[in-house]
Amino acid sequence: MKRKSAWIRAAYCHDIPLREGRAVRWGNREIAIFNLGDRFLAVANRCPHRGGPLSDGVVSGATVVCPIHAWKMSLETGKGIHGPSASSCVETFRTRVEGGIVLLEFIDNLGESEAAPSQELSLMCIQPGDCSSAAEA
């Protein structure tokens, strides 16, 4: 399986307040970026439960709580933390900061991208081993 990765400049760091999230949109795809003070973390802005905007959630350490039904998702692994959310996960994105700008890594799974339309990418977990059930699905 071939993988292509690209770092995309997403947003100015100062546009994302401390311990809050903001959504950045590319076409149909929205990514929530969170400012944890010492780092930025990013996940798809769509709660695996009912699609709630995770960027509007309250940040608790390296997790975010969806504002719609309070599912708690890890921003590091994308996994749900407890209860019914535990078997779900949200796509995560690697981040890095350069010159006051947050960059996101987009990985295109080329082996499957021809078959799968790009917006479905956000429903899948990319990082291997993190959310194995979803990755296999």
Partner: protein, 802 residues
């Protein structure tokens, strides 16, 4: 089956019947009551007068109890004759009822002192439910009420009338209040408390005449002085009701004379309660009557054996903030006794113990009655106090209240009114599966008298019942393991002003979606808005001042004070709805208009176009005041509820609260805007407002409790403000007013708000004023956002290459 006729359907008679039913053989029982009510708790009449309890709530034995026990209940029939030859009683309805055994439980009648013109319109006694209803019907806020008699009943009546908004004066013949239960110093402490509450106390005054032409206008005293009055209540004491005793030829002195088996001078006639005299004493308090009933039940059913040996007289005054307890012999006299005293004038605490030969003879507690059960136990058991000399006035400190309960001996009485011991309660818990206070009441009758032991019962349940659930010290969540009330003190004393600071110092440094909003609220409240606002600790609704919907859009509810809008506002709302393609325009249940389906990025523009302030429909804060049309249009309105409601909303709007606060104002008791199921309600009446609190019509439906009745709209608004700030400061986060008032108890709420000392009231109002001053319409952030990206969508700096 033998016939038992009981004359008197009051507490003593029926309690005795309850005991009789436990014995055999069984009787065919008929009970006559001259009142038209089933057996109710007479001790709580003052609570009915104060609007804390309804008639139904003080019922002790409902009709179904009589039916279930096959008791023939004859209400509204007064027995006027006893024929001991024919063994029958005659009612004032002409009925003749035969008996094998007769039980007289005729109670007592109010003592009316010889006062001229005492039969005037506006003169009341305060003895039964009908008297109470009549008083409630007559009294109005602003009326001048004079209570003649400064004993237990008089003082409780005075307080009830005051809660109803009357200006109350207590006139007492003796040199100090409750002279039978207190000494002069204790009486002075009590009088000071009554004065502090706003009740005038006049001592050493003999009332000679009721003034007025047909209707009460004042009362006159010996020596010529007089004071004006619209209403007079005579509570000068009681006299045993012994008429039937004479009629039956029984030995009667002050009361019907009974021996230790509760037998009268006639073998088949018995007597119990306030109408009897045992060993020279007539008892007027409930506990002795219950003890008598137990003995009598054994005697009358042929199980003669138990004897009544007299009771320790104990009395508790049931007035919020005026804790008074007295038991035993408290009179100062040279009888070889020693008095041990403690007093603290600033705190209003007075304690006096009277010891005789190392044994407690009597006790007086004013200002703090928490130890009353300990003294009562010492009195009853005649405990040798010599080894306890150093702990007489204050118990040796215990680790916590649980240990205190555990240390109580099983024989110690918990409920003095009903004579229920700790052992009985424990037994009920273990054998009958009791695990709530109401079950305990039902099963043992504990705390069904004056109710002052309910907290003790509660702690017993807590200590013994494994499933007993009561939040004792609630923490917000596990991120910050400090009890919420304690945390408030810490934050205040440590000058902590930001959520993260609090979490770093006292919590796990991280926080969560539960504690962060709670801490945000707490800091805002504690520092009256002068805290470091951290929006990351707020729920999204409080970051963008709109209510998030399931699709991630928002709902917008502008403020429409009191539900009164204008064509111009409605036009703007309509324009906004069209311009921003609002998916639904909805009239809410709170007399407001909801625009649903607005995008976050459109919020500032929507607010600007509306030109109306935020209705705070998205937050734990002041929601709205629902009003009726009041006096302007309504044919029935007696108070201008619309203006009052709008003013109420203006005064509290933009403030945060522990949970949402919905209010209502109605112009008459028809209650069209449902003020009695709101967190705070103003209920207009002819010439007064009732301020009610703790109502709910959500998942739970609860009728609001009366806080106070006042004359003017300004007074009503102030009472509402006192409660509002008191709730803001004392409630746990996410605790609605209806849970708050139940947890704290209305007694305490009143005592700490409308009846608080002036300085405390001013302090509450001052903190509210500060908070209000620092608050502002949240929608102003539409024009000056706190953060550049508060509402706008971030545009990516670089496109993703396809």
């Amino acid at each position: 089956m033998k016939k038992l006729v009981v004359v008197g359907n009051g507490m003593a008679g029926v309690a005795c019947v309850e005991q009789i039913l436990r014995h055999s053989p069984k009787f065919e029982i008929t009970i006559f009551g001259d009142e038209t009510h089933v057996n109710y708790n007479r001790i709580l009449l003052s609570s009915v007068l104060a609007g804390e309890k309804t008639d139904e709530e003080i019922v002790l034995n409902g009709l179904e109890w009589y039916q279930r026990n096959h008791i023939d209940l004859r209400l509204g029939v007064r027995i006027v004759g006893v024929d001991t030859q024919a063994r029958s009683v005659t009612g004032d309805d002409g009925s003749v009822t035969s008996f094998d055994k007769l039980l007289l439980a005729t109670g007592s009648v109010p003592l009316i002192p010889s006062i001229e013109e005492v039969k005037k319109d506006g003169v009341f006694v305060f003895r039964n439910l009908d008297d109470t209803r009549a008083l409630l019907e007559r009294c109005r806020a602003g009326m001048k009420a004079v209570v003649i008699g400064g004993g237990l009943l008089g003082l409780e009546a005075a307080r009830g009338l005051q809660v109803q908004g009357c200006e109350v004066t207590v006139v007492h013949l003796m040199e100090w209040l409750m002279e039978r239960q207190l000494d002069a110093a204790g009486g002075a402490y009590l009088a000071a408390k009554m004065n502090q509450m706003g009740i005038t106390v006049l001592l050493g005054l003999s009332t000679t005449a009721i003034l007025g032409n047909g209707k009460v206008e004042g009362v006159q005293f010996k020596g010529g002085g007089s004071i004006p009055a619209d209403l007079v209540v005579i509570a000068a004491g009681i006299r045993p009701n012994v008429g039937l005793g004479h009629e039956a030829g029984l030995e009667v002195k002050r009361g019907i004379v009974v021996n230790d088996y509760m037998e009268t001078s006639h073998p088949d006639i018995f007597a119990v309660g306030e109408c009897v005299q045992h060993n020279g004493i007539c008892y007027g308090l409930v506990a002795p009557l219950i003890e008598q009933g137990k003995v009598l039940a054994a005697t009358i059913t042929g199980n003669k054996g138990p004897v009544y040996q007299g009771s320790v007289q104990a009395a508790k005054l049931k007035i919020m903030g005026v804790d008074v307890f007295s038991a035993g012999d408290v009179e100062d006299k040279l009888d070889g006794s020693e008095a041990i005293r403690y007093e603290d004038p600033a705190l209003g605490i007075y304690r006096k113990l009277k010891l005789k030969k190392g044994i407690l003879a009597g006790a007086i507690l004013v200002g703090d009655t928490a130890d009353s059960h300990r003294y009562l136990d010492w009195l009853r058991t005649q405990k040798d106090l010599v080894p306890l000399r150093r702990q007489l006035l204050f118990p040796a400190p215990t680790e916590d209240s649980g240990i205190d309960v555990a240390q109580m001996p099983d024989s110690e009485t918990v409920c003095g009114c009903m004579g229920v011991t700790k052992g009985t309660i424990i037994q009920a818990i273990h054998e009958k599966g009791v695990n709530t206070l109401s079950q305990l009441k039902e099963c043992t009758r504990a705390s069904s008298g004056c109710g002052s032991c309910s907290s003790l019962c509660q702690s017993l349940l807590q200590a013994v019942v494994p499933e007993f659930e009561e939040e004792v010290r609630r923490t917000i969540c596990k991120c910050i393991p400090v009890a919420e009330d304690h945390l408030r003190d810490i934050l205040r004393s440590q000058w902590l002003k930001s959520v993260q600071e609090v979490l770093d110092i006292y919590g796990n440094g991280v926080g969560c979606e539960i504690c962060k909003p709670a801490l945000s609220y707490m800091l805002d409240m504690l520092w009256c808005g002068d805290h470091e606002e951290d929006r990351s600790a707020r729920f999204i609704n409080d970051r963008v001042h709109a209510n998030i919907q399931k699709d991630g859009t928002f709902s917008v509810v502008p403020r429409i004070r009191g539900g009164v809008t204008s064509p111009d506002e409605l036009r703007r709302i309509a324009d906004v709805a069209e311009k921003y393609r609002v998916r639904m325009v909805k009239i809410t249940g709170s007399q407001r208009i909801d625009l649903l389906g607005v995008k976050k990025a459109d919020l500032p523009k929507v607010w600007a176009d509306l030109g109306m302030p935020s209705g705070q429909a998205y937050t734990k804060g002041v929601r709205m005041v629902k009003t009726c049309v009041g006096t302007d249009f309504c044919r029935f309105g007696v108070q201008d509820s619309t203006s009052a409601g709008i003013e109420l909303e203006r005064r509290f709007e933009n403030l945060f609260t522990p949970h949402k606060v919905k209010m209502g104002a109605v112009g008459c008791p028809r209650n069209c805007a449902e003020a009695t199921v709101k967190d705070i309600g103003l209920v207009g009446q002819e010439g007064s407002w009732q301020v009610v609190v703790g109502g709910a019509a959500g998942k739970k439906v609860r009728k609001a409790d009366l806080l106070v009745t006042v004359e003017t709209t300004e007074q009503a608004l102030q009472a509402a403000a006192l409660f509002f700030q008191y709730y803001r400061e004392g409630a746990n986060y996410l605790e609605r007013t209806y849970d708050f008032v139940e947890r704290v108890g209305m007694e305490r709420v009143r005592k700490e708000t409308v009846y608080a000392p002036d300085a405390a009231k001013q302090a509450l109002l001052e903190r509210l004023r500060k908070s209000k001053e620092r608050s502002s319409d949240a929608w102003l952030e539409g024009k000056t956002p706190r953060h550049r990206t508060q509402f706008i969508q971030i545009q990516p700096l670089e496109e993703v290459l396809a």
